[in-house]
Symmetry: C2
Subunit: 436 residues, 2 copies
């Protein structure tokens, strides 16, 4: 059996442990929801205060130049680039994930329309994060394309079979938000390209969480999120990457002045900036942008400790430990594993199900168990199933920057106690409200 002492020993031997000191973690909380909203870095509050009181308050309009506000999308983009296998100048931080997806999908459709006009399908997974599907649905309606949704899980993978001659774009999220299952980006991209299909990758649950190499994978377009593993704060700007071979070919329809080649000439006609800068649109939220910069600085500080490669090793050790402890200590309560065991197919989260019919009454109980854990300070989240293909999910994200092995032990011990005591059946844990 895995012991608390063993977990403590793992922490003692963890070279990445000092990185935890860069974060402001509330006492009494084991935070396993960095996949939804990352933790506050200690440096952020002072930096945000500086932006507000000095750069805005004193510098006022001058700070667009003197404080470098204009250059933030590119400066921050260059830091993100290091985490996703992109080169400097290929990434900009801007707008939201949904909006950036609209931009790259629009550009990809422009390329497809020019190069292979008979291809009229966009393929994605039914289990993709819904906003990706909504945006694709909207663009399909605008452009006369059809969104084809396929199943992809441990039971069936219809993606390979879906790469037919009528498909223009394969749009996937690299790490699934519900299950934590991860695609092989290089292999899937190669299969798509062999079939003449462009790829769009959503890195919302990948950037800062797993090894990503957009360049080596030869991906075509990519977007991702700033407020999850990148610790950029609530609603942090998202990011966009375009393969340099595509970047100059078309402009995207959210063609605002920040994406103009010379915005301060104020010309009435649009002339797109070179490269990825044309994926900018309007004025960016500078305070949130500065907070995102602080989140990325933690990753820069992790470079002497081995950077993303070392973080990935620790992430897998944390999720391995969590799975092992749940199976050792929470057996007999109908808890199942929705996340792949194979390292190559696992992101930085572990998703548990709770089976009906395991001697238990009244729904899966997954929602109430998560609420009971939150009340104990173990913060994960819940994603409802569809009553058919997808089970209710208890989702636990493991951010190696600030989660330790003893945290994992205690999280599972709380889960065990919630199950043994049946405290999750209390009425207060069974009242639904909006969740993120």
């Amino acid at each position: 059996m895995t012991t608390l002492a063993y977990c403590q020993e793992l922490d003692v031997n963890d070279a990445l442990r000092p990185l935890k000191d860069q974060f402001s973690l509330p006492p009494g909380v084991i935070y396993l929801d960095g996949n939804s909203l990352g933790v506050l870095p200690k440096a952020t509050a002072a930096r945000v205060a500086e932006v507000v009181t000095q750069e805005w308050g004193v510098g006022l309009i001058r700070s667009w130049n003197t404080a470098g506000w204009f250059a933030m999308p590119q400066k921050i983009g260059n830091k993100i680039a290091k985490l996703i296998g992109a080169n400097a100048g290929e990434v900009v931080a801007t707008d939201t994930t949904s909006i950036n997806l609209y931009k790259v999908l629009s550009a990809a459709l422009n390329i497809a329309a020019a190069d292979s006009p008979t291809r009229k399908l966009i393929v994605s997974e039914r289990s993709n994060f819904p906003t990706d599907l909504y945006i694709a649905e909207a663009l399909c309606q605008e452009r006369g394309y059809t969104l084809k949704l396929v199943e992809s899980d441990d039971k069936s993978d219809e993606i390979a079979a879906s790469l037919t001659a009528d498909v223009a774009i394969l749009m996937l999220t690299h790490v699934n938000y519900r299950t934590g299952a991860m695609h092989d980006m290089a292999a899937v991209t190669q299969a798509a390209h062999t079939a003449g299909i462009l790829t769009v990758w959503d890195l919302a649950h990948s950037a800062g969480a797993v090894h990503v190499d957009l360049t080596a994978s030869k991906a075509d377009f990519s977007i991702g999120c700033g407020y999850k593993y990148l610790n950029g704060g609530p609603g942090a700007p998202a990011f966009v990457w375009v393969n340099p071979k595509h970047a100059g070919r078309f402009w995207q329809p959210l063609a605002g002045w920040w994406g103009h080649a010379t915005p301060f000439d104020f010309t009435p006609d649009y002339r797109p900036a070179p490269g990825v800068n044309r994926y900018l649109c309007g004025t960016q939220p500078i305070i949130n942008m500065a907070a995102l910069d602080c989140g990325l600085e933690v990753y820069m500080a992790a470079e002497p400790f081995g950077g993303m490669a070392a973080l990935r090793v620790k992430s897998l050790a944390l999720t391995d430990l969590f799975i092992a402890l749940v199976e050792e200590r929470c057996a007999g309560f109908g808890i199942g594993l929705a996340t792949p065991r194979a390292h190559a197919h696992r992101g930085s989260q572990v998703c548990l199900t709770r089976e009906h019919g395991a001697g238990l009454e009244g729904g899966s109980g997954a929602f109430a168990i998560v609420q009971a854990l939150i009340a104990r300070g173990v913060i994960g989240d819940y994603r409802a199933g569809d009553g058919k293909t997808h089970k209710d999910i208890m989702r636990f994200g493991f951010t190696p920057l600030y989660i330790g092995f003893e945290n994992v032990w205690h999280a599972v011990e709380h889960l065990r106690q919630v199950l043994v005591s049946e405290e999750w059946k209390r009425p207060e844990f069974n009242q639904k409200h909006a969740v993120t």
Copy 2:
């Protein structure tokens, strides 16, 4: 002659003067650029710090519900509604002006395509803020429409003549960013409607600056900016209003999960939220959003002082005084007025030109004069002309919340000294850099 003592007397008698104490103005600065980036309200720094350290740092993911983050677009939208003649529930604060324009213009095109499919033109002014034209150009290209640009200034107004049977949408900025000239929203909208044309109004230089009544004007769609007169801080979220008669008819293509009727059902298919909420898309920058809320609170605090009506009276008194002082004290230096004298046609800014051929060598000098003024702490901004129709502009915004009459006197005195001493000819004031 208008004296300093007279200006000081105006301040003494100004009932709105206490509102200035709500702002953190740097010493030695007369800030006449609130039309580009508003001033920091005193309450903002503490509120932003609370969002960062408490709501994010301690509340973490729970704050989406417990701190009301989810409801911010609507809550802030309701405050903006009071300033623009809209009703509660009709406005959301979200994304950027450019992106919101894309949304409403898309929706307006959907309506036009359904109701009057033979109309294939969008009409706007050549002197409109360029990002509006770029977004319209992009949508025209996507949808098979043509953007027709007309002239509209003190010499010729081609708008009325442009409202022909082939026009689907008239897209105007209410107060021109270069000249401060203001359209009669009700009259123009009525003329457009009589001709079967929908109207889209950009309120970037109107909201919080002049009287706006979208409801009484029967406007169709409107958008606006949070970081100018609303004092929301650099890159504050913008806003969007849709006439309730249109709000439920179509969805807009930036159809992300925040605009879904039930986002946390995570359904694979998009079902738009009722009303204006479908104009939301992705996760919003919460820190900047909280700062915008503080900016609007100042307007709520201005209600006992007479609110927007009283602010408008003071704004006109300030711009009247500025014009009078410039004409009295800066005569003989080729300074011209680009802003209409008639109150009904003037926003909250005054734009000056500097004529070539007024006995002066080397370009208009407008850029260098603005730089020299900024060096003296009088912050306005410069907008280049096109060498043809549009002259170089020296732009001075007057925000009645924090600008007083003595400020106006001193601003003009600095301008007089810059002109008399010819200090604007110094090399350091003639080096171009990016301006906002």
